[in-house]
Structure formats: structure tokens, C-alpha cells
Symmetry: D4
């Protein structure tokens, strides 16, 4: 069993994922890392979200960042979203992640702020352990 | 068989869907209308996209408007997206729909511009008939 | 003991707090509601954050929405922030809540989206119970 | 006869046109490439749009990107627009292309996203062939 | 002969055109008023721009406001553009009018500011008379 | 007598002034170039605006670009404003120049678009000569 | 002698000036109120700024809000600026007031926030008395 | 006793603090410089704000720049805020600093404009001395 499922929408988001996993590793939090696009790998993403025993999802995506919302629609576990600055300074990804419809919550952190996604997950895990 | 599948992300987008269907009706284009949220009804949406014999999708969504992209990820037919102004004047939905990653195209029209989604579909249909 | 501490930055945010508490009540989640401004009541806020036994904070603020960040700086429990649209459609509050510095995470939900703050808290509580 | 007419508003948009033609070439789609500004070559543009037998237009423009709309006003074939980031991260071109008036539709893709313009055209062509 | 050709992109811009013509009338400046869309009436617009003997053009348009630029491309007389707030507070029209490519100048005034379009024209006319 | 008074708000705007004067020189239009800040040299600016016999002002400024408006308030000749991108991609300067109050018009051109300021002036001069 | 000179750019800003004077009156701070536009009354504004014995200026303006900067250029006393939301939610005025060039400072408060302009002035006066 | 307390939210804002202290030093204004984050060092910040005998605070912060507001909530002395451009060109910090709630004023200067924070402080000090 792992604590956190870290999902990147694209290999180009690896530098943000590194921030996430660095903080998780320093805090002895186990994780599983996957590159799965909501738009290019919908079936594989769906299968992974439904099968993993991770407690929390950290999702990383730029542009029209549908990944966090799509994961949140397939699980009732907490989903954290990290907007990546690919265009428009990341405003597109920030709005795509934050402005979710009622009933499907995503916890949005700052643009490119992989550190805080990990720290938020750690705060949640502290409630359990 | 219908020409167009019109999908609304939420019942609150009905006034924009009316613009779409008014133009389609006036131009004698057949359509099928569904309310299916990418975030709240992912399985039903998936099933509908895969099963419909419609040639073109018109998708209507506000906020973090993932619907057009999620549909485009599940079909290789043309997908048109209409951003709805729910917050921030619709800028959030416009960016969510337009800024798709490479390989999963969505044809974005103007904010609340259901008319043009229908007109774009009609231009495409003219190529066929 | 309560599950959730709901803090409003201003009485004018009550309509958003109502959305939060409606969802919490329907889901049988206990909460404590306070109106405490990060800018006008810093000492009372500090005292409350340190003394409450709530597991999760839901913070609601508009404009320069410092409340979520100030709470997150005083606790290591999860803090959820709801940006309220008072000026500029809420873009000011959204950026103030989302763009936190490294190490002090806030889980930002959508503008005026009190429902999702409650739903996010419920997802976290499900991990515990 | 060619499938696609690719029109650049300026020689400075060539790097985006290359993305379009790379995808078209890999998919064996024929195209004709022209540099014609809506603002600097209106008559030549008009003549070309009316005379070409291409089925679909892909138009590429930055700044006040009038090219897609001007082409759409002169033809009833599908017109795809690619906003180029010259100033303001491309927000100016995105709005100029997406926010068309009723009755003159343009299919806007993402900023600098020449790939998706080609992919959208390919999806449309698949309906025909 | 008239001094000013006032062109509206749409009947819905009439309230802004009234501001223009009120100021012109009060200053005894003659004008000719036409409703001609760059996108819906391109040929009629082209014919009018080439045939009028007006000295200056005042063009009024919202959304993807191509009208000022299209007129400027067809004449070498001064063209003044008034962005109209239809969506996004008029930011779309402002950027569409202001961000013209090199060589095709448009004099952009403020959003919905028909008065200043007239005043700018009057300043230019004072140089002649 | 000169045709055009070119005024820069700051020495750092020299690269944009060069674009203006290059176009003016190529078109044999005489000009007088001054560096006068609306904020730092208000008296010298005022004296120059009142004393010059130039027919048209081209004003170049970034940030809170008050220069064009301040000149327009001191003369009834045409004033053209060029917003310079110093911060926020030039959006601050664009809004400062375009959004003038009723009765004090400024002809705003695109961000950093010194060429078009010159071309606009040339179009106006053609009416006279 | 008065403590504060309150200057409005336009009669339409009176509702914001009322907020300023309400707070000043409640705190027994004397003031002098004038309506003087930087753009329409430059000479009267200049004369007033140079002649008043007020210690602090509070300036209120919308759109291209040059008033605070123009006052700051004519005095070496503290100048506080209040951006008024006339268009674009007041973003234009906020940027026009905040983004001053080096050496000519303006203390910008929030959009329509006349209260805080008064409170800031009161904080400064407390240092003296 | 010192005149000015200069507080940086992060060591990464040092280059902006240098602008502040350069202007203060050239004008023989004494200052005390501290690096204290509103989010990471809330207790130390609180203690410093309450204990310093400085007359004016200059606070420097990027992103969700809560520092100026948090200081203003703990003192009734004048607080000047400098937004730093870390993401989104500094728009996030500008809005976080400018859009304070009623009753807790912050004097916001331009993005990265440390010079003007110092100049504003000097204007205030001139009233005293």
C-alpha cells in the first residue's frame, strides 16, 4: 500500500513532480508515480484511479488541466491539483483546476507549487496516523 | 442516426443549449440532447460518447469546463466546445476549453456563443452532404 | 469535539458560509462557525486556531484573502480556502488564496464554491473514520 | 485539389505553421500554404479564399488576429484559427479568434497549438472519407 | 461630402454610436452612419470604405472587433476604433482593436467611449480647417 | 516648424521611439524628439506642449502611462499614445493610455508598436497636405 | 489649515469620496474637498496642489486614473490614490494608480476603498500629532 | 530608534529590498532590515512588529503577499507594501497587497518598485521632521 498516488498529465511536468516527490521522500511518505493524461490516456487513467490503494491523489497538469477534476470524478478520496505554467503564466491551469463544479472538489495549490501539494497531503495524513 | 450530439455539462447551461438547437432546427439538422457532466457523470458520459452514431459533438460547459476535452479524448470525431460565463465572465471556461494539449483537439467558439457552435457544425456537415 | 472549524473573514461572507454548513449538516459532519478576520481580529483568530480541537479548517474570505494563509501558518492541520467574489469577480481572492509560499499549503476551491470546501473536508474525514 | 488551405498572417508565424504542416504530412493530408495578412493583403486574401478548392482552412495569426474571422466571412467552409503568442502571452490573439459574432464561426484551438489545428482538420476529413 | 464615416459592426452597438453622433452634431461635424459588419457584410463594407469621400472613419465593434482593422486595411485615411463591452467587460474588443500589426494603424479609444472617438476626429479635423 | 512632436516618458523607452522615428524618417516626416516624463518633469512637459508648433504628438510611456493623457489635457491637437511593455506585458500601460475620460481623447496603438504610431500620424498628415 | 486635501477626478466618484469623508469626520480630521480632473482641469489642479496647506492628499479616480500621479508629480507631500471601478471592475484604475515610475510614489489602496484611504491618512497623521 | 522597519517575506525578495535600502541610505534615513514571513514566521513577525520603535513599515512580498496586511493588522503605524513579481508578472502580489478590507489600510506601490516604497516613506517622514 502507498500513501500517495502522484499523477502527471505529461512528461513535461516532471520538474514539478520532482518537487512533490522530494518533499514526500524527506517526510518518509510512500508514493507511486504515474504519467497519465486525462485527455490522451483516459482509460488507463480511469483504471489506475479505481485500482490504486493510495489514500490521496496529487495531480499535476498544465494548460486545460482536466486531470485533477477527472480523477476527482472517479474517486471519493481527496485530490490535490498543481497547476503548471505552460502558457499565460499558468493562469489557464489555475482556473481549470480551481473552478470545479459543485460536488466534485479539487484542492488547488499554487502555480508550479509541487512542494505545497506534498505538504497538503502530509497534513491530511497526519490526521490519520 | 442523428447528425449532432449536443451535451450540456449542467442543467444551468440550458439557455446556451437552446441557442444551439434553435440554429440546428432552423437548418434542418438532427440532434440528440443530453445533460452529462464530465465531473459528475463520467461513466454515463463515456458510454454515451462511445455509443452514439452522431457525426459531431457540441459540448457546453462553464467554470472548469472539462466536458469538451473529456469527450474529445473518447472519440475521434470533431468536438466543438462552448464556454459558458458562470464566473469571471467565462474566462475560466474559455481557457479550459481552448488550451487543450497536443493531439486532443477541441474547436472552441466564443463565450456563451451557442449559435456559432451550431454554425460551425453546419459548415462541417456541408462538406459531407 | 467538532470535525470542522468554519471561519469567515467577514459577516458579508455569510452567504458562502451557508453553502458550507448546508453540505456539512446534510452529511452529519459537526462544525463550529466563527467570524474572525485575519486583518481585523488577528489575536482572537490566533487564539481560536490554537485552541480548537477541530480536525480541519474551512476558511472563507474575499479581496486580499489572507485568512486561509494566516490560519495555515498557525496550525499543521489541513486548511481549505474559499475565495469570495467581492471585487474583480473574485480573481483577487482566488490568487491570494492559491498562490501560497512553499511550506504553508492551502487547499483552494473555486470562487464562491462553499459546497466544494465542505465536500473536500468530507473526503478527508472519510480517510479517518 | 488539396484538403487544407493553411494561411499565415505573417512570416513570423512560420514556426507555428511548421507544427501544422508536420502533423498534416505525417497523416498524408495535402495542403497549400500561403502567407496572407488580413490587414496587409486583404484583396489577395479575398481572392485566394474564393478561388481555392481546399475543403478546410487553417489560419494562424497573432495580436489582433483578424485573419480567421475574415476568412470565415468570405467562405462557408470550416475555418480553424490558431492564436499566436506575440504579446500578452497570446491572450490578445486568443480573444480575437474565439470571440466571433453570431453567424460567422471560427474553431479556435489553443495558443501556439498548431498541432491541434491539424488534428481538428483531420477529424473533420475523416467524416468525409 | 461628409467629414466622418461612422460604421457600427452591429445594431446592438447603437447606444455607443449615439454618443459619437451626439458629439459630432454638437460640434457641427457632418457624418454618415452605416451598420456594416466586417464578418457578416464584408463585400458591402469593402465597397463603402472604398467609395465614401469621408475624411476619417469612426468604427464601433464588440467581441472580436475586426471592423476597425478591416477598414484600416482598405483605406489610407485615419481610422478610429471604439471597443464595445459585450463580454469580458470589453477587454476582448479592446485588445482586438489596439493590437494591430505593424503598418495598419488603428487609433483605439476607451471601452464604450464613443465620445472620445468623436473628440479625436474633431482634433484631426481642426488641423485641416 | 516640425510635423510631429515625439515625447518619451523615460530614456528606457528609446527602443520604441526608434521605431517611431525610423518610420517618420522613411516617409520624410519631420519630427522633434524629447524625453519628458509626465510625473518627473511636469513643468517642462507643460511648457513644451504649449510652445511647440508640431501638428501631432506621439507619446511613448510604460507602466502607469500618464504621459499621453497629460499631453492631451494641455493641447487640442491629436495625441497618439504608445504603451510600452515594462511590467505585466504592457497591459498596465495599454489600459492607462486607452481608458481616458470623456472629452480628452488619446489615440492608443498597440503595445510597443511604435511603427503604428508613426503610420497613424502619417495618415493624419495626408489629410492636410 | 486643513489636514487632508480630498480630490475627485469626476463628480461620478462622489460615492467613493463620501466614504473617505465619513471616516475622516468620525476621526475629527479636517479636510477640503475638490473636484478637479487631471485631464480636464490641469491648470486648476496644478494651482490647487501648489497652494493648499493640507498635509496629505487623497485622490480618487477611475479609468486611466492619472490624478494621483499628476498630484504626486506636483508636490512632495504623501499622496494616496483610490482606484474607482468604472470599467473592467476597476483593474484599469488600479494599474494606473499603482504602477507609478520610480521617484514619484503614490500609495494605492483597494478598488473603491475610500475607507482605507482615510484610514491610511489617519495613520500618517498620528505620527505627527 | 530607527525611522523605517523594512521586512522581507523571503530571502528571494532581497533584490527588491536592496532598492528600498539604497534610496533610504541616499536620503540618510535609518532603517532596520528583517526577513520574516507572514506565513512561515508568524510569531516572530508579530513580536517584531509590536516591539520595534520604527515609525513606518516597508513590507516586501510576492505571490499571496499577506505580509503587508498582517503587519497592518498588528500596528497602527503606516504600512507600505511592495508586490514582487514571482508568478503571473506580480499580479497576484499586487492584488493581495492592494485589495485590503476596510479598516486595515496598506499603501501599495508598483510591482517590484522598491524605490517608490522608500520615496513614499520619505514623504511621510518629511511631515514629521
Amino acid at each position: 500500500m502507498v500513501d500517495i498516488a502522484v499523477i502527471l498529465g505529461s512528461l513535461s511536468d516532471q520538474h514539478i513532480a520532482d518537487k512533490v516527490t522530494d518533499v514526500l521522500t524527506k517526510n518518509n511518505v510512500s508514493y507511486d508515480l504515474r504519467i497519465l493524461s486525462a485527455h490522451r490516456d483516459p482509460d488507463a487513467l480511469d483504471a489506475y484511479v479505481r485500482s490504486t490503494d493510495a489514500r490521496i491523489f496529487i495531480t499535476i497538469a498544465g494548460l486545460s488541466a482536466a486531470l485533477p477534476g477527472v480523477v476527482a470524478a472517479r474517486t471519493d478520496k481527496p485530490v490535490i491539483g498543481v497547476p503548471v505554467s505552460a502558457k499565460l503564466g499558468g493562469l489557464d491551469a489555475l482556473l481549470s483546476i480551481a473552478q470545479m463544479p459543485k460536488g466534485v472538489p479539487v484542492a488547488c495549490v499554487g502555480i508550479d507549487n509541487g512542494d505545497n501539494a506534498a505538504h497538503m497531503a502530509i497534513r491530511i495524513l497526519k490526521l490519520i496516523k
